[in-house]
Symmetry: C2
Subunit: 161 residues, 2 copies
């Protein structure tokens, strides 16, 4: 892994920018879906904890200007850290946050995520838009959309509980 | 202006997402251009202060995880606030930050900005990429690219001093 020192003396890989958008329908009203993004205990359950990973820290201050820190690692692997700030919250309608992912001491991505919720005949229509800057030459870009789809699947399971 | 309360009871405008990229050449070495984004006094001079505006606050903690807060107003207008967090800093090469713009108490945009610097025969080639989420239905999107081009013009003037 590159150290902070080596990063300052060699030109880094070009940043890869990309945006993806995922749409989902959930059979629950918007207030219920919103709560799954807003309530610390619920968020920890479906979004932070994962089979095979250990959560070292989870702080979650859900308000505009508030922050989240999640630190976790997979089976003896390096520690991965997520630092997020909430930029807009409209209850039951919208959440906008930016987050940085760091492995060891090296940030490898920064992203701006917009979650929009609207009532639909069946419950809620969700639009998830993520605008990303991938700092490792795009290596981390490949899995991000798939990872986000997988998380939105986990949300469906959580809501069904 | 919508209050926090009225925003929570009416569906907000759809978020408009857009990305722009600006390229510039400066007749100065990358370390000199980088310093104009990193040094608090220099940043204040070319990027924060503006004719006809009053700066009420400027805090600037230039490190990964550090924040900027700028509060200003134009000729008796409402207070505008910028809250930024630095997500990646590679000296003389790259700066990534996310920022939220707020008017009164209402956030109207969140953006992820990447500044990449590379040495060129004439000095520095700069690539400015901004991925934005415009929360007011796109009204603020229109001027953002033009505003950023104008700031990069001001940077050229600052560097020539």
């Amino acid at each position: 892994m590159a150290s902070a020192t080596s990063r300052s003396t060699a030109a880094p890989a070009a940043v890869v920018h990309s945006t993806f958008r995922i749409e989902r329908s959930y059979a629950h009203v918007p207030s219920c879906v919103f709560r799954a993004f807003a309530d610390k205990d619920i968020v920890r359950r479906w979004r932070v904890e994962d089979e095979g990973s250990v959560v070292h820290e989870f702080t979650f201050d859900f308000r505009v200007g508030g922050s989240e820190v999640s630190r976790f690692s997979f089976a003896g692997g390096p520690q991965i850290r997520l630092d997020a700030q909430f930029h807009d919250i409209v209850p039951d309608c919208r959440i906008v946050f930016a987050y940085r992912m760091t492995i060891g001491t090296t940030p490898f991505s920064a992203s701006l995520t917009t979650i929009e919720l609207a009532p639909s005949p069946g419950g809620t229509h969700l639009i998830y838009t993520e605008q990303g800057a991938y700092l490792d030459g795009g290596e981390s870009a490949n899995g991000r959309e798939a990872g986000s789809r997988s998380l939105l699947d986990k949300l469906a399971v959580e809501l069904a509980k």
